[in-house]
């Protein structure tokens, strides 16, 4: 075998190795998110009652916007960022949400934001056609008197008189630009047939950390700004 032939064989082997490696790293992946809604270890179901720090809380509504999805490697390098995709996550829905397709590799982290950026926030829902998440919703996710999206809604009742019956209204409607919040979670799942379905656990019990739920029961954001800020501080803890 001539040196020329050996060199050619080595080159071909290298190329095959190189192309194979590229294929692994740059495989088109579809990012999909499936949200699991919890109250601690229990599934979060509308109408059910859960114990939060010894107090009974009835869960009636959980809806929030997510946006700016950024799949990342274990070292935190972003493969891409989906800045034009928006999800309106409803606690009563268990379907997976498809975010988009990207040329990626081993996704081990996912960055995303709760809410929408300021440009979108002050747009007009009527410019989006139903069923787009930014279109008008029922229940409404947009303030008509102070135009902007409601990023996060939690509604329920709390047992204020300790008789075991949640009867006092809890209502947290949080929005406004300053509460557009980023977070990051670890991804355990691996792609199957080109689809990476990341399971995002949302634990509503964590929304109430350091919150006096017997007293601080209502915030439409502006009418109880401190409570809104305290709730927003807990948002990243809710997701994993």
């Amino acid at each position: 075998m001539s040196i020329r032939t050996i060199s050619f064989a080595v080159l071909v082997t290298l190329c095959i190795g190189l192309f194979t490696a590229c294929k692994d790293d740059d495989e088109d992946l579809t990012l999909s998110l499936r949200f699991e809604h919890k109250f601690g270890a229990e599934d979060a179901v509308y109408g059910n009652t859960y114990m939060v720090n010894g107090t009974a809380v009835q869960f009636d509504l959980g809806i929030f916007y997510c946006s700016v999805f950024t799949p990342k490697s274990s070292s935190g390098d972003a493969f891409t960022s989906f800045t034009d995709e928006f999800l309106l996550v409803r606690a009563e829905e268990s379907a997976a949400y498809e975010v988009g397709t990207f040329s990626g590799g081993d996704v081990r982290k996912l960055g995303f934001s709760i809410g929408v950026d300021s440009e979108i926030n002050h747009g007009d829902p009527a410019n989006w056609q139903s069923p787009h998440p930014l279109a008008s919703q029922s229940p409404s996710m947009y303030w008509g008197w102070d135009n902007g999206y409601i990023f996060f809604k939690f509604e329920g009742r709390v047992d204020r008189d300790n008789d075991g019956v949640p009867d006092a209204i809890m209502l947290y409607h949080i929005g406004k630009d300053q509460f557009f919040t980023s977070t990051e979670i670890d991804i355990q799942e691996n792609p199957v047939d080109g689809v990476l379905t990341a399971v995002v656990t949302v634990d509503y019990a964590k929304l109430f950390e350091n919150i006096d739920i017997l007293e601080d029961r209502v915030s439409h954001t502006g009418d109880n700004l401190q409570l809104a800020a305290d709730l927003v501080e807990n948002w990243p803890r809710m997701f994993n």
């Binding site: 002050h122 009527a126 410019n127 409404s140 008197w145 102070d146 700004l225």
Partner: protein, 306 residues
Amino acid sequence: MDIPEGFPDMPIPEDNQLTEDRVALGKQLFYDMRLSRQSDVSCASCHLQERAFADQNILSIGTQERVGFRNVPSLANIGYHPYLFREGGGISLETQVLGPLEAEDEMDFNMVEAVERLSQFPDYQEQAQTAYGRPFSAFVLSRALAAFQRTLISGNSAFDQDQRGELALSEAAARGLQLFTSEKTNCQNCHDGFDFSNYAFENNGLYEQYNDTGRSRVTFQDSDIGKFKVPSLRNVALTPPYMHDGSLSDLESVIEHYNTGGKAHVNKSSLIRPLGLSDDEKSDLIEFLKSLSDNCFISNPDFAIE
């Protein structure tokens, strides 16, 4: 749309240029009670043409007689306002529609449900296609209502006719105008321009403590507590009671409020101070304010439903 002499061009969004079809659809919606959950109130229930599209109540009365927390503002020349509502949280007439539609003490409805309801009516579907080239939707509903409201232009009062040389103001009203523009009252510092408003947010010393904090509801700034959008004075004699909460019943009370300089508040405008007006001067000012009533506007059949 006829723009009165001395009025600027109205800013109109690219996607909602005025056409007869759009305005006609908007007018029909404006008077349609099915826009409220209980089908018992329409936009026109609070915005009465004979009251320059305000009403006579201290506070707004919504669906099922629910009492709101604000006095109903006039819609005259509303298309010129750079922002809507007394605290300025509405960014356009199109998005403003959601405010009364979804407020529990107004129409208590929801845009999705309203569209579902009205989409059932073939005439609305037909008009939506004609006006906007698409099925009836939130886009159509909000834009048509905004289009109609932009036509609510008032610029033919005795004052306007005087300015055009068509009719002279009464002597009392003319004296009132002089006072209005004088440094003695400084009225014109805020109630300026063709619409008698600079659309700024001001605290006029109505209270020492504000239950309704006004502009700060939007900005969260203490420096905005008690500030409200300066209202237009056009048709002001037709729109009692006055102030954001309807707490002053007549023009005499309003003039007296400004004459005394209002109550102390850290955010009160420096222009609000005792004026030392005589009874005759107060009377002249009121005569001038009455000259801003536009009878053509409140009787224009184009704004009424048959």
